[in-house]
């Protein structure tokens, strides 16, 4: 069942491909313009996906990272020729821009990971890799079921022990509670094993099935994303996105047509999830109007 748009709706392979590419490409480039577009793309995509929660995430994590990197770099690196003022050491414009860029890269990566969490649920991930790693996939999905259960049970144990006068803090009491939880849960495991065997577990090689079919549209999107990623990777290796901060700005950057094309491609790539998503939302709205 799917309630999403864009990457949320396409096959998990497409979404996974995009996030892997955008995160790696963002992380390997320290270029103010590239960091900025990646940050913008990630920020807007997060807002579309999670609304207010994304703003909160940005203010709590991404923004502090940018500020922190800028401050630390500005105060600790004195390279660069444009001295703005002195604070024990000379503080240079180059060093501030460098810090800002580094912070922007890290913040963008954080935001992309945040979006990844909203787009690729553990289930979509397992659906994607379950066939390659069937045992690991089963262990993961089993643990995903056990964690909330154990958490709830530990709380239950604590309360139950209080009510027979054995509650309270301290390492010893904590150990008691944990012991109760462990033996209880181990014992349950026996019954789980019985239920698994009764349903044929271990009789032959397990074949995970809860994967989605690749449709033509999925293949199309996946091909486009792969083409982008391949082009950008090649261009980055060729040095199209290199940037030097020191000794002075304006940078000794490449202003060729090729460099501009690479930048445009990267910007488009970063904005692609927002474009795909918005386009679908608009199409959905118009479809409503036609009724």
């Amino acid at each position: 069942m799917n309630s999403g748009f864009g990457l949320q709706r396409y096959h998990a392979a497409a979404a996974f491909m995009f996030f892997a590419a955008v995160i790696i490409l963002t992380a390997v480039t320290v270029h103010p313009a590239y960091a900025a577009v990646s940050l913008i793309g990630a920020f807007f995509y997060c807002i579309i996906l999670k609304k207010g929660a994304a703003v909160k995430f940005f203010l709590l994590f991404a923004l502090p990272v940018i500020i922190l990197f800028t401050l630390v770099n500005a105060l600790s690196v004195s390279s660069g020729v444009t001295i703005l003022f002195y604070l024990y050491n000379p503080v240079t414009l180059e060093s501030i821009i460098n810090g800002l860029t580094l912070g922007g890269v890290i913040a963008a990566v954080l935001l992309w990971f945040y979006a990844y969490g909203a787009v690729i649920s553990p289930h979509r991930f397992l659906g994607l890799f379950g066939r390659v790693l069937p045992k690991t996939a089963l262990v993961l999905t089993m643990s995903a079921g056990l964690f909330p259960r154990y958490k709830r049970r530990l709380k239950e144990v604590k309360r139950a022990q209080i009510l027979i006068g054995k509650g309270g803090g301290g390492i010893k009491k904590g150990y008691r509670n944990l012991a109760a939880l462990l033996s209880w849960s181990l014992c349950d495991g026996l019954e789980t094993a019985a239920s698994m065997r009764a349903r044929g577990y271990g009789l032959k090689t397990r074949k995970p099935l809860t994967f989605k079919k690749m449709r033509a549209s999925d293949i199309a999107v996946l091909s486009i994303l792969t083409a982008f990623a391949a082009f950008l990777t090649a261009a980055f290796i060729a040095g199209a996105a290199s940037f030097t901060f020191y000794p002075s700005l304006p940078p000794s950057a490449d202003y060729s047509l090729f460099a501009a094309a690479v930048f445009a491609a990267f910007a488009l790539f970063c904005l692609l999830p927002v474009i795909l998503h918005t386009e679908e939302v608009l199409r959905w709205r118009t479809s409503l109007l036609k009724i």
């Binding site: 069942m1 289930h123 089963l138 999905t141 089993m142 995903a144 079921g145 056990l146 909330p148 259960r149 709830r152 049970r153 239950e156 144990v157 309360r159 139950a160 022990q161 209080i162 009510l163 027979i164 006068g165 509650g167 309270g168 008691r176 012991a179 109760a180 033996s183 209880w184 014992c187 349950d188 495991g189 019954e191 789980t192 019985a194 239920s195 698994m196 065997r197 009764a198 349903r199 044929g200 577990y201 271990g202 009789l203 032959k204 090689t205 397990r206 074949k207 995970p208 099935l209 809860t210 994967f211």
Partner: protein, 555 residues
Amino acid sequence: MADIVVKNLSFAYAGAAQNALHNISFTAAEGTLTLLCGATGSGKSTLLRHFVKELTPHGKRTGTLRYGDTEIVQLEPLKAAQKFGLVMQNPDNQIVTDNVFSELFFGLENLGFSAAEAHRRVAETVGFFGMESYLHKAIDSLSGGQKQLVNLAAALALRPEVLILDEPTAQLDPVASADFIAALLRINRELGVTVILCEHRLEQIFAHADQVVLLDKGQIAALGTPRELAAELMREPQLNKMYPAFPAAARLFGAVGGKGECPLSVREGRAFVQAFVKSGAEIHSAIPPKPATTPPQKPSVRLKNVYFRYESKGLDILNGADFTVYPGEITCILGGNGSGKSTALGVMGGVNCPHIGKIEILEKNIKAYKGGSLYKGILAGLPQNPETLFTRETARLELEEMGGDTSETQRIAQLLEISDLLPMHPLDLSGGERQKLAFAKVLLCNAQIYLLDEPLKGLDSRYKQVFGAVLKQLKDAGKTLILATHDIEFAALNADKCCICFNGELSAPLAAKEFFAGNYFYTPAINRIARAAGFNEVLSVEELAAKLRRKEFTV
């Protein structure tokens, strides 16, 4: 599809001197529903496990157990897994994955079905059970009844020919267990799946079985259709350990020495009562005796306008609860799942702290009990899951760590009939036995007020009588007993006061007779039968039988 034929089956667990099963023979014909019943320890679970190849217990075995022409232990493993489905008692433990969808695929994946075939099977299973609304939910967010239906559906997705069920409703509330049984009956009736199940609660399922096998000490004590068996056994109730578990209508039939067909359902019971009350005779329903006005007492537990929620942004689970309980009384809080019963007990026990309202324990604000002094001889609680109390290697150590002297420990163990279990590891005990051990621990707290959360879960009907007697002793000693329970039948027979928890509010506790006489369907089966003769306040089979025998209904 084929019949299951058990012939002269005897079985002893490895190292055990006595046979757990002795000379068992019966046939479960294709497409029928066989009900195995028997008191705890009668060998019904051991017998049941013989039907599932992968779970066949280890030990010495003679006799045969065939499915069609093949011995069950010699079935080809893939076939056995496909043809025999299993559902056990605990809903949580049987679930392997973390969401309903993957759980339904689990067996199909194990057996290597193609994606298309698996999807079709899951689709039709989901449709059959109508579980679309929670198909994508996390298992942890489901109720016990929903989880058990998931287990049933997961077994059914493999299209079994036989379903084996080991007390599948023991952990469920009455509404959820009725739903479960309805689903099971549909599978049997509409799909022709052979069903073999064991149960101790017989009220709902008994009349629907094609065949009932009553086990006692590993042997078949009686076998037949429900009607034959009930008519035969009800004549000599004292010989039958399972008597209290039989449907109320059948027990009434036995108690008044009925002739002809034995009634099994409430509907038949009502017809039976009406036939007994001769036509034209006027019924003078006894006016319910005014509950004796209790001398003014000091309340032991009091809630005043209590609001409680678990999460700051969550809903209020208790919604202005007011509640007063007195010493020397058994008070039952009834109500469905999630109605707030357990939460209310937690609030009274001081482990849930309300954001509004006041709680008084023995006329003192609960907050005035500092440093755990509340739990030293004043208040003790039995949790919903007895396992939460076990931290030691043996049941004996569990009891000894409560700090009572040896004679007291022994007395409690005897009172609760667990003396034989003391050398065992607490978690090697069955569900009902764990419940007993946990209750023993709680009693050793020697408190004034006991809060018992679903104390009857997993107990068989005979033991419920023992439990009721223990509660009575405690109440006579002036203790306060507050139970949160689903068990209407138990509450009707044992409670002094009953109240209902609904929508986060607790109704004022009423005397049990008054409470149930005022209910329409939230009453025990025998009360619904007695209403046919106008006895709205009758709560036990014995009471109704006495009235009918004395012909209290004629002028």
